[in-house]
């Protein structure tokens, strides 16, 4: 990556951060939630590049959130870096084990199996009265390297961390997608046998992608838990995973920025649907998805691509 575009991205990150901090609080809150969800969807998009749709990202989203909740509430660890480290480690260990089984399946079987695992976690959490069963429990305010900003500053701290994570992980994901093993994902989707003949390991490609997606989902869950201050098993329920798939379809899989933008749009769309039509907001979301599928089958990012193609045609 050129230093010029890196610098550009850095400025972009700062601009988003400044914008986020200047927005009224309800908006910056929504924005932080969207960043959290965007990270989960980014992981999902990595899998979708390899032709795999996971209906179980809620599993890692929930694990990340619960690790954050349990550390702040029961172990009194509030440092956001430690929490992130812990939730990434826990989710990677779980993904490494489940992935051994899951990565041998494709298509609907992969989708159903991933969903089954997240529903197992949901079932376990519902049974656990110590963790508040379906009511969940509250998450204490985070701190950073000994600096505790208290309830008023906590959401700004999480916002800053979330923007930093989105920009840095976005760059990493972009570089990954443009690397050999990133392209191998598309090879898996197009023709697995050919990839094996070329000397690549299909299992390894899918396995690595699955673990990366799990870590991203856990980070997203941690961000959401820290900013909303509450976790409950609903985060592992299949409708939550379905929402991630919805956002992924909205954005498209063409670029790493697509899921992040789609997540922001989704949150904005939903909150206005809530305000405008308290009885029928689901219908607005439904029509939006329908319109996107009908008119932009490869997601919102296809708008950007269309624009770029036009420009390319003009210059030649």
């Amino acid at each position: 990556m050129k230093t010029k575009s890196l610098a550009l991205l850095f400025i972009l990150g700062l601009a988003i951060l400044a914008g986020g901090l200047l927005l009224p609080q309800w908006m910056s809150y929504l924005f932080t939630i969207a960043m959290g969800k965007g990270l989960v969807v980014l992981g999902l998009v990595l899998l979708m590049r390899a032709g795999l749709v996971s209906f179980g990202q809620g599993l890692y989203y929930c694990v990340g959130a619960y690790v954050a909740g349990m550390l702040t509430q029961f172990a009194e660890v509030t440092d956001i870096l430690l929490i992130l480290l812990a939730s990434i480690s826990v989710s990677v260990v779980i993904a490494a084990i489940i992935g051994l089984l899951l990565c041998r399946y494709r298509e609907i079987f992969f989708a159903m199996f991933s969903m089954a695992f997240s529903m197992i976690l949901y079932g376990l959490l519902v049974r656990m009265q110590v963790l508040g069963s379906t009511d969940g429990f509250n998450v204490a305010n985070p701190s950073l390297l000994g600096w505790a900003p208290g309830p008023e500053g906590a959401s700004d701290l999480v916002l800053a961390v979330a923007v930093f994570l989105v920009v840095s992980l976005g760059i990493l994901a972009w570089r990954y997608l443009n690397s050999l093993s990133g392209y191998a994902g598309e090879a898996v989707r197009e023709n697995e046998i050919r990839l094996e003949y070329l000397g690549g390991s299909v299992f390894k490609v899918v396995y690595v992608k699955y673990i990366i997606a799990a870590a991203l989902a856990a980070i997203g869950g941690t961000v959401t838990a820290l900013v909303s201050g509450h976790v409950d098993p609903e985060m592992a329920y299949w409708t939550t995973s379905g929402e991630f798939v919805f956002i992924a379809l909205m954005g498209g899989t063409a670029h790493v920025a697509a899921p992040i933008i789609a997540a922001v749009l989704f949150e904005a769309l939903r909150t206005y649907a809530f305000a405008v039509a308290p009885y029928t907001w689901q219908m607005i979301l439904g029509f939006a998805l329908l319109a996107i599928i009908l008119f932009m089958p490869s997601g919102l990012w296809s708008l950007v691509e269309r624009f770029q193609n036009k420009k390319a045609r003009k210059t030649t």
């Binding site: 575009s5 550009l8 991205l9 972009l12 601009a15 988003i16 914008g19 927005l23 009224p24 609080q25 309800w26 908006m27 809150y29 929504l30 939630i33 519902v126 049974r127 009265q129 508040g132 069963s133 379906t134 009511d135 969940g136 429990f137 509250n138 309830p151 008023e152 959401t224 909303s228 201050g229 509450h230 409950d232 609903e234 985060m235 939550t240 670029h255 920025a257 992040i260 933008i261 922001v264 749009l265 949150e267 904005a268 939903r270 909150t271 206005y272 809530f274 305000a275 308290p278 009885y279 029928t280 907001w281 689901q282 950007v304 624009f307 770029q308």
Partner: protein, 426 residues
Amino acid sequence: MKHSLLTAATVACAMTTGGLSLSAHAADDYKLGLVTFLSGAASGPFGIPAKNAADLVIEAINDGTLPAPIQGKGIDGRQITPVYVDEAGGATKQTSEFRNLVERDGVDAVVGYISSGDCLAIPAVAEELKKLTVLFDCGTPRVFEEADYKYVFRTHSTASMDNIAAAHYVNDNVPELESVAGINQNYSWGHDSWRDFTETLKVLRDGDIEITTEQFPKLFAGQYGAEISALQVNSADVIHTSFWGGDTDAFVLQAAARGLLADNQVIFTAGETALNSLGEHLPDGAIIGARGPFGPFAPDSELNTWFQTEFTERFGTPPTFPAYHMAHALIGLKLAQDKAGVGASTEEVITAFEGLEFEGPGGKVEMSRGKGHQAATEMVYGRLERVDGEITFTDIVRYPADCVNPPEGTETVEWIQAGMPGAECN
């Protein structure tokens, strides 16, 4: 990447302009955020009756037509403008909607929340934003047991009260009680209800009670064939259920068809909302609770007569307990605001609200728990009996607030297991 910046900027602009247009409102109104289930499974039995009650009571408060002793037009003279929000979508979604209400719509107070998960998540945000919030229907005792809140109030008792009273009732009114069985939904409400009921029963009978089976079917399962078989095989003197909504309907219809209700005593701790839809299928002798002195158990008063007649006339069905809960929350909020006086700060309203005692359509409410932020009321159970096809109740027992609510500063489960010290049941 440049384009994503452009898109992000467009989104931000769109959100800001939208936000500005939504927050314009007249200054002398009392803007009230109202959050109940307007969609989903909890909207039919809870959300919509509560919303109807809110419409009715807000209109009456604005017109000043509520019967004595409640006086005055509006809240401290200001007309209430409600802003409705659907409670669907889970706790994360609701915390963001709460912020929207407070910061975007600029409400003066928020009344809402049926789901216990939401009631646990919202208070922390209410404290952060310093906004007066009245929880109106959720049951979990954890809200004021796990933390102290300044800006949050709850004007009805916890679900523990229902089940402690249920244990008292079956212990006193079911002859030769030896065994109980339970069928409750597999989520917090079901588990907590069953735990409070059985723990209280163990204390009341010194452990002399047999639990034949405990069934926890999935929430909104709709099919209870296997559970009904289990209940029939492991027959018990009393079957306890905290089912609500469509699950109650499905369970009663299926259990009645298989004779379970004819052979067994069943206690429905939250059965009152099903009376209107299910009345003809419930057998005589079924024990029904209304989560407080509500509906058929509401005490005689001018306020209650007004509430019952107006509600029935306007919406076609008599008010059920969620409607009473909503009425109590609104009346409590109005009285606290009026007591604090015109132009009072939020802090002054909070001081007025703390420890407030008032009469609602469902009798007396004492804000006597949770440092004056949590209400305690009496609890009533009765047996259903048909007289000429009309549903009436016999063996009605009223348990005073101090009998079935844990005293100030105690944790419910610990209090029950310690033998309920300090309970005054006479």
